[in-house]
Amino acid sequence: MTHYLLSVHGPAEMEEFGGYPSREAMEQSFADTGRFNDQLKADGYWVFAGGLQSATTATLVDGQGETPVVTDGPYLETKEYIAGFWVIDAPDLDVALKLAAEGSKACRGVVEVRPFDGLA
């Protein structure tokens, strides 16, 4: 089995309905995502899932010197940032891609699938 990161990206700051066109659309997507999560657990693929607070809440820490240097903001300078992700444990990429497609449909966004080199 291999662990895969299934990540979803979005802008640094979300609009009113979290990037969805309406409250109903947002709630529908949350419900679909919840069902998808339950299915992941039931099928034994689930390792972790979480939605992140907006990228504007990020802090950078450099602990390599004598005293840590803390600066505001995310590390990457891009238009979009990782907004949330699943970690799954699947037998091969075909299974991971199938689950990613279901996750993508549920959360209304494209999903990036990347294998882990190893877990600590």
Partner: protein, 419 residues
Amino acid sequence: MSATSSTTAQAIERVFREEYGRLIASLVRRFGDIDIAEEAAGEALVAALEKWPQQYPDSGVPPNPGAWLTTTAGNRAIDRLRREKLRDDKHRQAVDMYDDTPHESLGVFESNEDDRLRLMFTCCHPALAPEARIALTLRLLGGLTVEEIAQAFLVPETTMGQRITRAKKKIAAAKIPYRVPAPEDLPARVATVLAVLFLVFNEGYLASGDGEPVRSELTGEAIRLARILHGLMPGEPEVTGLLALLLLTEARREARVRHGELVRLDDQDRGGWDRALITEGHALVRECLAINRPGRYQLLAAINAVHTDAPTAETTDWSQVVALYDQLLTVDPSPIVALNRAVAIAELDGPEVALAQVDRLVETAPVLSSYHALHATRADLLRRLGRSTDAREAYDAALAVCDNTAERAYLTRRRGELV
């Protein structure tokens, strides 16, 4: 090296290339790793070059070269894995996989012969970039060298090498499976494999760049791989359709270029067509008709069957061609198909009707303006209508985006002949 030994070396290399896909595929199954398979295959070639001329002085090749290469490469891979003392997990896993225990059941595709089918699905996996799928297929199944593939696609060898290395890394790290897809995924995945073979063929048939207008090593390789796929999946009508399409197109290859200039279908010397390929292609088209599950490649093959069935251009059954294009439009509603249909309409209803259709097409699909065949078609229709000024403009537009030497030569001559 004497003349005889260099001929023997060539014979050995030819056998090696023919066996390469089968060899790599069986090694990948046994050791679960493409790099190990390629290294072992390379060592087996070195051993063959050294031993075959001594052991088989008459032919230079053993009676069953494939078995010899498979055994030798397998032993080399095991030697290497032992030498490396199971240094890391990859090799440990590979050794674990090599055990003479039976392999896990893989459904209906059980025999070792189907290793190549699995490898085709791995190389043409939709998670790989399209250009990487083509390169990997030619490298691992076709046995072409990185240098040959780089030349065929006009990119530097280092670029092609990196492309292949990256794709192999992704297959290993992301665990792209070595397996024939599940029945419910099969149609989509077969389509990806067919698209790769069709692209390889087309790049050979209408080669881009300043070199040869036709690269027969690519058309030949695409046909060879399509034959293998057809042999492995005889019941998939689109596979049969693609093979038929490639054969019926290849049959006209020799007649298609004369003195470095493209010869259009109407003007080709039909006596120069390869009758054996046409007969084989027609039989495959009949097989498809019997199965009656039409698809893109089958319909394209059927259109080519109508053309190759006509003893002269004038006797072509154009209404049948148009009917097939209509059917093709329902499964592949692309502006390029619509453009080709308009070409057939010109023969059936005259150039004026066709030109009106072509011009309407450009309005609805502006993307066609960057396609050389659009301008070449318009130029031809305008020429036939006697509209020389417009035709000249269209020839210029076609030449501006045409990247095939033979077609450029044809367009340039036609343009010069306008009065």
